[in-house]
C-alpha cells in the first residue's frame, strides 16, 4: 500500500549516497547543505583522526611502553575520543535521516523547501539547543567527564605503586571491589567506615530534624511572647557559614584549652572528656555539633508550614472535644511531616556526604590501629584521605562508585514520589 504512493526511489538512493556525508543532500539538489555536510565530515576526520586513533587504542591498552605512554593521559584521551565519536555518530545519523527524509519528499512529488525556509526552520527548532549548549558543554566537561573517569578508574590499578610516568596502569576488572571485600585491612576499614556513615547519617539527621520541628512547634504557640526575636536567634546557626562554626567548635572541644572541658564541665564538677582522642566522644561531639548546625533549617521550614495551617482546623477540633495532645498528633504533626518530607530526605543525603564537619572538626580522627581510615571518617572523607594523602586512586574510585550508587538510588526513589516529576509533561 504505502510503497505505491512513492513515484520513484530517490529516498533509497539518497540514503545510500549519504554513507559519504553530504552526497545524499547533493543528490537531492540541496547543494549548500550537501557541501556543508561534506566539509563538516572532512574537517571532522582531519581534526580528530589522530585523537580518535590514539584515544581508542589508549583506552583499551592504557599504554604499552613505559616512558612513552602515560596511562592516565591515555585514559583521558580515550574518554575524549569516545565522547567525540558519539557526537560524530549523532551528526552522521542525522545526515542519513535528512537525506532519507528529503528523498522521500521528492518521491512523494513534494517540493523540497528552499534554503531560506530551511534556515528559518533551523533557527526555530535549533533555538533551544543553542540556549542549552553552553551549559551542556560545561556540564559534560566538569561533571560528566569526571564521573566517567571515576567509573573507569575503579577498574584499574592506579595507585602510588602504579603511577605514570614511571609505571603503567592496567585494567584489573573487579579487583578493587574484590579487594575491598577480601583483604582484611580493606574489609575491616570499609565495614567500620560504612557502619559509622550510616549511624552518623541517621543519628545526626534525625536529631536535627526532631529538634527543629520540636522548637518550631514550641515557638509557634499562640500565647508565647517575643516570637520574632526568638525566631531570629534560632536562625543564627544557619546564618553563620558552617565552616566557621565547625572550626569554632573544634576550638571549644579542644582538650588542652577548649572551653567545654576547662570551664563548662569543670564548673559542673565533671572530669575532662577526651573529645578529640576518644572515638566514642568524638562521635558524640560531631552529632551534637551537626544538630546545632542543622536544626535552624528544619525550624524555618516547619515554622512556615505551621503558619499556613488554618485556625479553623483547631477550632473544629476543640468543638469536637479534642485534647491538646490529640490536636498535636492528629493535625499538626501529619501536616508538618507531609509538607517537609521531601526536604527531610535531602537532609539525609546531605549528611551522608557532609565532608566539611568531619574533616574540619578533627580531620576524621582519632586514628585507629589496623585500618586506614580515622575513627570518624565517613565514606566521602575516607575517599578524600585515600586520594590526597595515600594516593590510592583506584580504591578511592571504587568506593566513590559504591557511594554514588547509594545516593542516586535513594534520591531516585525519592524523586519518583515527588509531585513535580509526576506532573512533568514528559512529551
Amino acid at each position: 500500500m504505502e510503497t505505491s504512493m512513492y513515484r520513484s526511489s530517490h529516498r533509497k538512493i539518497a540514503l545510500c549516497l549519504s554513507i559519504v556525508p553530504g552526497l545524499g543532500q547533493l543528490y537531492n539538489r540541496q547543494y549548500v547543505k550537501g557541501a556543508f555536510f561534506l566539509i563538516l565530515a572532512i574537517s571532522y576526520y582531519i581534526v580528530f583522526a589522530d585523537l580518535l586513533d590514539i584515544g581508542l587504542w589508549g583506552i583499551v591498552t592504557l599504554g604499552e611502553v613505559i616512558g612513552r605512554d602515560h596511562s592516565i593521559f591515555l585514559l583521558v584521551e580515550g574518554i575524549l575520543a569516545v565522547i567525540i565519536l558519539v557526537f560524530g555518530l549523532g551528526v552522521y545519523a542525522f545526515n542519513l535521516y535528512d537525506a532519507y527524509k528529503n528523498g522521500q519528499q521528492r518521491d512523494l512529488g513534494l517540493n523540497i523547501s528552499s534554503l531560506r525556509e530551511q534556515y528559518h526552520v533551523l533557527i526555530d527548532s535549533g533555538f533551544p539547543y543553542l540556549m542549552i549548549s553552553p551549559g551542556f558543554i560545561l556540564l559534560v566537561f566538569v561533571v560528566v567527564f569526571p564521573i566517567i573517569f571515576v567509573v573507569l578508574l575503579a577498574f584499574t590499578n592506579y595507585d602510588l605503586y602504579h603511577s605514570p610516568p614511571a609505571k603503567l596502569v592496567d585494567w584489573v576488572g573487579f579487583q578493587n571491589f574484590i579487594d575491598l571485600v577480601k583483604l582484611d585491612l580493606w574489609r575491616k576499614t570499609f565495614v567500620n567506615v560504612l557502619a559509622w556513615t550510616i549511624v552518623w547519617t541517621f543519628g545526626a539527621t534525625t536529631l536535627q530534624i526532631a529538634l527543629g520541628i520540636f522548637l518550631a512547634i514550641i515557638v509557634n504557640q499562640k500565647d508565647l511572647k517575643g516570637k520574632a526575636i526568638i525566631r531570629t536567634i534560632f536562625i543564627l546557626p544557619w546564618a553563620v557559614p558552617a565552616f566557621v562554626s565547625i572550626l569554632i567548635f573544634s576550638g571549644m572541644f579542644n582538650e588542652s584549652f577548649g572551653v567545654i572541658n576547662k570551664t563548662i564541665l569543670a564548673s559542673l564538677g565533671i572530669d575532662p572528656i577526651d573529645w578529640m582522642t576518644d572515638p566514642f566522644w568524638t562521635k558524640v561531639a560531631l552529632i551534637l555539633i551537626q544538630s546545632w548546625l542543622g536544626f535552624p533549617f528544619i525550624f524555618a521550614m516547619t515554622t512556615g508550614v505551621l503558619q499556613a495551617i488554618p485556625d479553623e482546623l483547631y477550632e473544629a477540633a476543640i468543638v469536637d472535644g479534642a485534647t491538646a495532645w490529640q490536636k498535636f498528633t492528629k493535625i499538626t504533626l501529619p501536616l508538618v511531616l507531609y509538607a517537609v518530607a521531601p526536604i527531610l530526605i535531602t537532609q539525609y543525603t546531605f549528611n551522608f556526604n557532609n565532608f566539611n564537619i568531619i574533616y574540619l572538626f578533627n580531620g576524621g580522627g582519632p586514628a585507629v590501629s589496623g585500618q586506614n581510615a580515622g575513627a570518624t571518617d565517613i565514606l566521602i572523607s575516607w575517599i578524600y584521605r585515600l586520594t590526597m594523602t595515600s594516593a590510592q586512586y583506584s580504591k578511592a574510585a571504587a568506593i566513590t562508585l559504591l557511594l554514588s550508587l547509594v545516593v542516586v538510588s535513594v534520591a531516585l526513589w525519592q524523586f519518583r514520589k515527588t509531585k513535580s516529576f509526576k506532573e512533568e509533561d514528559m512529551m
Binding site: 560528566v144 571515576v150 546564618a239 546545632w292 543525603t349 566539611n356 566521602i380
Partner: protein, 280 residues
Amino acid sequence: MNMKRQKMIRLTLSYAVILAMTIIIVYPLLWVVGSSFNPGQSLSGSKMIPDHATVAHYKELFDTSKSDYLIWYANSLKISTLTMIFSVILVSLTAYSFSRYRFVGRQNGLITFLVLQMIPNFAALIAIYVLGLLTKLIDTHLGLILVYVGGAIPMNTWLMKGYLDTIPKELDESARIDGAGHLRIFFQIIMPLAKPIIAVIALFTFIAPFGDFILASVLLRSKEKFTLAVGLYDLVAKQFGNEFTTFAAGSVLIALPIAVLFLSFQKYFVSGLTAGGTKG
C-alpha cells in the same frame, strides 16, 4: 483555675526550653567574639569578657605583610561572585529552554539533570584532581570556578524550571503573535517575571562556593590563591591554640557580614526553598 495553671506550666516550660536553646546557640558565638578581643595568641587563660580588650588581632589580619587574610577574603569574594554570575546566566538559558520548548532529547536531558544533581560534584574528587593536573587548571581560580558553575547547573536548573513552569505560557504566545522573537521573549517577558527565583539562585550560587572547603582544598595549592575556608583551616590546623585568637578575629569578620546579609534575605530565602521543595 486549673486551666490557668496548666497554661502557666506550659508557658514556663516553653520559655525554659527557649532560654536553654538560646544559651546553646549564642554561647559559641559570643565565645568567639570574646576570644577575638583577648590579648595574646593562646587561649589558655582567656576570658569571655577580657580584662584588657584589644583589637590587635584585627589589625594583624588587615596587615598584608603579616597575614594573607585580606587576599583570601578577596579571593573568596571574587570566586563566589564570578560563580554566581556565570551560573545565573547558564541556568537561566537552560531552564528557559527546558520549560518552554519541546525538542528532541528534552526528556532525556531532564532525567540526566535529575540524576546529576544527586551526585555531589566532589564525589568525582579524584577525577577533578587528576584532570586539574592534566589541564594545568590546578591551583587556578578559573578551574575552581568552572567546577563550581558546572556543579551548580543541574540542581538550579530544576529549581528554576519549576518556577518558570508556573509563568503562564499564554504570555509568550501572545508576544509571539505580536511578532516578538525568541530572544526578545526571553529577555523582556520571562526574565523580568523570574526575578524572585533568579535572586534565590544568585544567593545559592554565591553562598555555595563561599562555604565550600573540599573542592577548594583539592584544587588550590599555593597560599596566596586560597579561599577563606581553606585559609582559615590552614591557620588553625597548623598550630592550633597558638593562633586561635587571630583565627577568632578572622571568623568574626566572615560571620558578621554573612549573617547580616542572610538574616535580611531570610524570608525570601525560606519561601524560595519551600516553593522549590514542594514543587520539586
